[in-house]
């Protein structure tokens, strides 16, 4: 059993999932080109588009480019509402070409494990000492290699935030410092933030993660005790801003049954 800390905030008017989606949405700056990915980021991109980043452009690896938010909740990037009114429907290579050129500002990923240098594993999990075969990279490895910034969303516990991932599906800063350059990865690329159920991690110049903010109601000890290495803490540690009324309104309009945010 994990000793996952659950933030207790009975009075707050939003769910943890909503907080994470809002935090993810804020990683998108206006007019940026965004590689959206699967699951929670599908909603986060729509929230960003309808609040602070109306000029953001969404790329989806199935070959879709969108400048307007999809009119309905998306369960997958290829749901028909994501194609109707798209800027472009093309091939996977059409969007991967832009990614490899360095024209994607930020890409979103999930993972089973993330480590102190932001390396990600979405290939092999472990439950009770037994290896579990997970679905695999999808486009994660491509985004992690080639996007200017990468943002990761995952559950915060010691089994997920580990000293060293057991399989590098998606490279972060490797073992730190100049590792990415030594591998031949683009100069302007790498992890930017890890948004967990407890807080937000960012990365120092040496490639190591530090705790940049804790979610409302979460204590720093909860974060450190649920992290598989000795996590550095920012001198100017912040509290993650709760979702705004406008952000919540978009989420609840698009996802009234809270498919993506019910946690």
């Amino acid at each position: 059993m994990s000793t996952r800390a659950q933030p207790e905030a009975p009075a707050r008017g939003y769910s943890l999932g909503e907080l994470m989606v809002a935090a993810a949405a804020r990683e998108i700056r206006d007019a940026e080109v965004v590689f959206v990915g699967m699951r929670l980021p599908l909603l986060a991109f729509l929230v960003a588009k309808r609040t602070h980043a109306p000029a953001a452009i969404g790329l989806y690896e199935n070959g879709v480019i969108r400048e307007t938010p999809a009119p309905e909740l998306l369960y997958t990037m290829a749901d028909p509402p994501n194609l109707l009114g798209a800027t472009l429907c093309g091939q996977m290579l059409d969007v991967m070409a832009l990614l490899q050129q360095g024209r994607v500002h930020v890409g979103f990923l999930g993972a089973a494990e993330a480590d102190r240098f932001g390396n990600l594993n979405s290939t092999w999990g472990n439950r009770g000492g037994q290896d579990i075969r997970l679905p695999g990279s999808g486009g994660a490895c491509d985004i992690a290699c080639l996007a200017q910034r990468t943002v990761v969303l995952l559950e915060h516990d010691r089994n997920r935030l580990v000293e060293r991932v057991k399989h590098v599906t998606s490279p972060g800063f490797g073992s730190g410092d100049s590792w990415r350059r030594a591998q031949g990865l683009p100069l302007r690329s790498g992890p930017s933030a890890v948004i967990t159920t407890l807080g937000v991690l960012r990365f120092s110049n040496d490639g190591e993660a530090y705790l940049a903010s804790v979610h409302p109601g979460v204590r720093v000890e909860d974060v450190l005790g649920n992290t598989g290495w000795t996590l550095r803490v920012a001198d100017d540690l912040l509290e993650t801003l709760p979702p705004s009324g406008a952000e919540l309104a978009v989420m609840r309009e698009l996802d009234p049954n809270r498919f993506w945010t019910n946690r």
């Binding site: 369960y75 429907c89 991967m96 590098v168 599906t169």
Partner: protein, 307 residues
């Protein structure tokens, strides 16, 4: 001279063109237009030792693996897009149930580049993707090499040439000239890279309809070995302009494939228990089918090819 029609039944197409041991591209358009009807026919005809190729396969690969049709998978992602893991893949890889499967892990981009190399007829395509990853270390079709024109490191992605690509599409003529729209994924390169193409179409239209919009003809008929007319052949995945995604079906499959006994029941009900797609649709029920239909049509403006 008139070309011969390539229109045949799904049973015939699978029987004639996809023997056991084939390397088969399926799910080329990612979560759209997954050829489930063809996959279920592969299961009914008892194929073995297939090598499945595809980027994000969603649950069709999981079903084929669970049914014992597969020995190798070359893919970026095998699972259930709305629910997460695929229990069929897990049982096969972790416990050899019902038989061992070897998964060769790609990323989406490298899988697309493998098919692109196959489509171009060259042995590999270069990329920066996968540098520094364990995909590069473990997938023998990805090899690091020094760039011949500068000081950079690159990854060579070996060409993929599937024996058969099974591609679902909106409409085709009886000769295999195919109109496809929406997100294309790796379908276009897949059709060129494969040695044979089976097109599964929602509608069979007159050649004049196809010829009226040649920009939308993404698969030329001369590359196509067989055309199958199979309305709703991609259910539960969506076909743009024809039907939506049956999200509940994916969630139900997730629950009903968790235990091997339940998966066997699922397979007996939805695959072995029906002779063809028509019976499958009857089982699904008219109400459910109707509820997935297009609620509001959205036609593109015609393009003028006149001169």
């Amino acid at each position: 001279m008139s070309a011969a029609s390539k229109l045949i039944s799904m049973q015939q197409a699978v029987a004639e063109h996809v023997p056991s041991g084939s390397m088969v591209l399926l799910g080329a358009q990612l979560e759209q237009m997954i050829p489930f009807a063809a996959g279920h026919e592969l299961i009914r005809q008892g194929r073995r030792d297939l090598t499945l190729v595809g980027p994000i396969s969603d649950i069709l690969f999981d079903q084929l693996i669970g049914a014992g049709c597969v020995s190798h998978v070359l893919a970026a992602w095998v699972g259930n897009v709305s629910a997460g893991v695929g229990y069929g893949l897990r049982r096969a890889v972790e416990h050899n149930i019902p038989r061992p499967v070897q998964m060769v892990d790609y990323s989406n981009f490298t899988l697309a580049l493998g098919l692109h190399a196959g489509a171009l007829g060259v042995p590999f395509m270069p990329t920066y993707s996968t540098l520094g990853s364990d995909l590069l270390k473990k997938n023998g079709n990805l090899r690091e090499f020094p760039s011949p024109v500068n000081e950079e490191k690159l990854v060579a992605v070996r060409a993929l040439r599937p024996d058969v690509a099974i591609l679902h599409a909106q409409r085709a003529d009886q000769f295999g000239n195919t109109h496809l729209w929406g997100n294309l994924g790796v379908a276009v390169d897949g059709a060129r890279a494969a040695r044979k193409v089976i097109v599964v179409a929602e509608e069979i239209v007159a050649p004049e309809v196809i010829a009226s919009d040649p920009n939308r003809t993404l698969i030329p008929g001369f590359l196509v070995a067989a055309v199958v007319h199979e309305p709703w052949g991609a259910h539960p995945s969506p076909v743009q302009g024809y039907y939506g995604r049956d999200h509940a079906f994916f969630s139900q499959y997730h629950e009903q494939s968790r235990q091997v006994e339940d998966f066997e029941k699922w397979l007996a009900r939805w695959v072995a228990g029906v002779a063809d797609r028509r019976e499958y649709l009857n089982l699904l029920g008219a109400c459910r089918v109707e509820s997935l239909g297009v609620r509001q049509h959205a036609f593109s403006a015609p393009a003028n090819f006149g001169y």
